[in-house]
Every structure is written in structure tokens, then in C-alpha cells.
């Protein structure tokens, strides 16, 4: 299988990301951010888009390394670019622009299994971002209730108590906030 390829020397970037090593993160920004910025600017994006996508791509790598023990079989830059391009293409689609001019290579130097895994992670992360965008637009009370209820480890009885409301009221309010969030995501057709 393709996954048996040797680990690339750039694996040290992955180790640095996983260890939240400030020096490595700094180096990654200095070495790779300008190239990616140029590419995004050349493909209908802004500097702010470039910063966002770059950051999101690094988070994807972090998650992949943490959850799936990412072993790099190609240069780090190529891997990063693969994620950036995929994310930017998706973003352009969301903005109603076709990314037809963008040449997206497929799995390239990485195995198909790893590529699938990567696509799954990107999809989850993008969905999270979209939900968060609409979550931020909810009222203060809704955000507070959802934040408290959706953090693990605290029972809703205790949360109701903290907020000084009944459990029944909290459940009603939480589900109403969830409905509002789901409907706003849905109506934005994303």
C-alpha cells in the first residue's frame, strides 16, 4: 500500500506542531505563509483570507497529528498546500464562485487513505467554523446556555441551578436556541 512510504525529514514540523513548539510555529509562518498568501491573493482572496486559511490548515494538521498520528511522506509545504488549496476551493464555492481556474491535484504524494482522512477532517472543521459563525450571531442568553450545556462533564440539572431557572425551562430554552441555530445555518444554504 502507498502508506508504507518512508517518513519525510519534514516530520519535525509535525512534531513541533503537536508539541505546540513556539519556535517551530514561528518558523512555519515565516517560511510558508508568504507563499500561501501569494497564492490566495492570486486566486481571488484577500490577505485576511490568506491568514485565516493558513491558520485553519495548521489546525487541520494539528488535529490529524493528534488523532491519527500523522506520518508525513512528502515535504511539509506540499502537504500544507494540499490542505490550503482544498479549503480555499471550498470557500470559493461557498462564496458562490467557481474555483475552475484552480488546479487542484488529488492525493499527490500522499496515500489515498491519508487523503481521505484529511478530507474528512477538513469537512468537519469547515462545518464547525460555519456553525460557530452562526453561533456568534445568537443572542447573549442563547450563547451562554448552549456554551454551558454543550461543555462536557456538567449535568443540565446543575446548569439550571447555576442559572437560577428550572430544568424544564432550561431544556425548552436550549432546544429553542438549537432550533434557531440550525435554521440559520440551513437558511444560509451552506
Amino acid at each position: 500500500m502507498a502508506e508504507t512510504k518512508a517518513i519525510h525529514a519534514d516530520q519535525h514540523f509535525i512534531i513541533g506542531i503537536l508539541g505546540n513548539d513556539g519556535k517551530v510555529i514561528d518558523l512555519i509562518y515565516k517560511k510558508f505563509a508568504p507563499g500561501i498568501k501569494r497564492w490566495i491573493l492570486n486566486n481571488s482572496g484577500s490577505g485576511f483570507d490568506a491568514d485565516d486559511i493558513f491558520q485553519e490548515a495548521l489546525i487541520t494538521i494539528f488535529r490529524q497529528a493528534k488523532e491519527n498520528q500523522l506520518a508525513l511522506t512528502c515535504p511539509f509545504e506540499a502537504y500544507l498546500f494540499l490542505i490550503v488549496k482544498r479549503m480555499w476551493l471550498n470557500e470559493l464555492k461557498r462564496r458562490g464562485r467557481q474555483g475552475a481556474t484552480i488546479d487542484i491535484e488529488d492525493a499527490g504524494d500522499i496515500g489515498t487513505h491519508q487523503f481521505k482522512e484529511l478530507e474528512g477532517l477538513i469537512e468537519t472543521q469547515e462545518k464547525e467554523n460555519i456553525i460557530m459563525r452562526f453561533y456568534q450571531k445568537l443572542g447573549d442568553r442563547c450563547r451562554e446556555i448552549l456554551r454551558l450545556c454543550l461543555q462536557k462533564g456538567s449535568s443540565q440539572e446543575i446548569i439550571a441551578d447555576q442559572l437560577g431557572v428550572s430544568y424544564g425551562y432550561l431544556r425548552k430554552k436550549k432546544s429553542a436556541c438549537m432550533a434557531q441555530l440550525i435554521n440559520s445555518v440551513h437558511s444560509a444554504n451552506l
Binding site: I17, N20, G22, I25, D26, Y29, A33, F48, D51, Q55, L58, I59, F62, R63, K66, T124, K127, E128, I131, M132, R133, Y135, Q136, K137, D140, R143, L146, R147, L150, Q151, K152, Q156, R171, K172, K174, S175, A176, M178, A179, L181, I182, N183, V185, H186
Partner: protein, 244 residues
């Protein structure tokens, strides 16, 4: 999705339905594709939102590192031109005497960048109280936030009306990345009328900014009136917080 469907689903997922009601829900689920879709969407949205609202400590720290490198790089260009003029801002808030170092772009993260605080030695009080306060100031300034929170906890219990202790506990939680607890303390400060009132709003805003909740950050910054000592810093943070 209707609110009544959402509440029905929530009750089902929370195991709040009796066995009869549960059976009824599941029977309806088999026939009603609308309810099925709603249930899937509800579960998926809750999972995704929970994942982001409840990030692992490691991912939270990693995101903060990215934010800090990013904000450092963003400021580097402007720093080059204005560095010669850059000064350490010193702000003394009434008798409480907090010193805020705001403009320090070489600092490593958002919190240090926008809100580094130093606690001054206490004013003269009873001996025992004074030594505790001294120790709190010493630990706080040495950035030993875990230790200082322990002392502040007892100090807050002993003297709940002392807003200074509550304020520094909020700031310590902020450094410990426990944003929920930080905001609890800071909100109490903001709801009160002490000299720390608007610092409470400012640091609440900063906590949201660190978590990339820019809308909430902006809302809190806008609560700060023009005549507050922290207003210029609040405006600076507001300018540098993306509208999203």
C-alpha cells in the same frame, strides 16, 4: 426545524421521556422522515458545536500560539515605523494603582500583548492582611497564577466586597486559560461600581478575543464609556478586532 420538534428531540436525547413516550417517539421516527432529518441535524450540530466550545486543552493552547504568532506578524510591519515612538503606557486607575503595559508588540501572545498587568504592593493595612496581600502581589507578578488563585480564593471568601482580589482572580484565570471562570469574576466586577468596573469589561472582551469570539469581544468593548481610563486601550483593541 420547529421549536416543538427541537424540544421533543432534546427530551429524547436527554432521556427525559418515559418508556411509553420513548417508544412513541421511536415509532414516529420510523414513519416521519422530517423528524429523522431533524434528529440527525440536531445531533450533528450539537456535536460540532460541543467540539468547538469544549476544545481540548492542547488544541486551545495551539490555537492561542497561532493567534499570537499571527498578531505578532501583523504588528511587525507597523511596529517598524512607529517603534521609535512606542512607549510603555502607564495607567494608574485611581487609588487602586494598576499598571497596564499595553503597547508591547514584542510580547508573545494576545493576553500579554493587550493586557499585561502588574499588581502593586498593597496600601498599609493590618499586618496579617498586608502580608497576605503582599504575597498575592508577589505571586501575581511572578506569573504564578495557579498559586495566586488559591490565595485569592480565600481572600475573596474572607472579604467578598474587596473587588481588587476578585479582579486579580479573574485575570489569573485568564492566564490559566479558564475563560469561563475569568468571565464570571470579571462580570461581577463589571456589574459592580468599583474602580475596576471597566477594566472588568475590557478583560472580558479580551477573553473573547483570545477565543476568536470577535463579535462578543466588540460588544464588551463598546460597553466602555469615553471617560473610562481604559477607553483608549479599548479603542485600540476594537480597531484591531476583525468584524466577523
Amino acid at each position: 426545524m420547529t421549536e416543538s420538534n427541537a424540544e421533543y428531540i432534546e427530551s429524547y436525547l436527554n432521556n427525559d421521556l418515559s418508556s411509553d413516550e420513548r417508544a412513541q417517539f421511536e415509532a414516529r421516527l420510523r414513519q416521519d422522515t422530517g423528524l429523522q432529518e431533524d434528529l440527525d441535524m440536531y445531533k450533528q450540530t450539537a456535536n460540532l458545536l460541543s467540539r468547538r466550545l469544549d476544545l481540548s486543552t492542547e488544541e486551545r493552547a495551539f490555537r492561542e500560539s497561532l493567534n499570537s504568532v499571527r498578531s505578532q506578524l501583523e504588528t511587525t510591519a507597523s511596529v517598524k515605523t512607529i517603534r521609535s515612538k512606542a512607549r510603555l503606557w502607564v495607567s494608574i486607575v485611581a487609588a487602586a494603582a494598576i499598571i497596564l503595559f499595553i503597547w508591547s508588540p514584542w510580547q508573545v501572545n494576545l493576553l500579554n500583548h493587550y493586557g499585561q498587568l502588574e499588581m502593586t504592593s498593597p496600601v498599609v493595612r493590618g499586618d496579617e492582611v498586608q502580608s497576605t496581600q503582599e504575597q498575592i502581589a508577589k505571586l501575581f507578578n511572578a506569573k504564578q497564577y495557579k498559586e495566586v488563585v488559591v490565595l485569592l480564593d480565600s481572600a475573596v471568601v474572607a472579604d467578598p466586597a474587596n473587588m481588587q482580589n476578585l479582579f486579580y482572580r479573574g485575570i489569573s484565570y485568564l492566564h490559566l486559560q479558564d475563560y469561563q471562570k475569568a468571565r464570571q469574576d470579571l462580570k461581577t466586577i463589571f456589574d459592580g461600581s468599583s474602580v475596576y468596573k471597566y477594566e472588568g469589561a475590557y478583560f472580558t472582551a479580551l477573553s473573547f478575543r483570545i477565543e476568536k469570539q470577535n463579535v462578543s469581544c466588540r460588544i464588551w468593548l463598546q460597553k466602555i464609556p469615553k471617560d473610562a481610563a481604559i477607553y483608549p486601550k479599548a479603542q485600540k483593541l476594537l480597531e484591531e478586532t476583525p468584524k466577523d
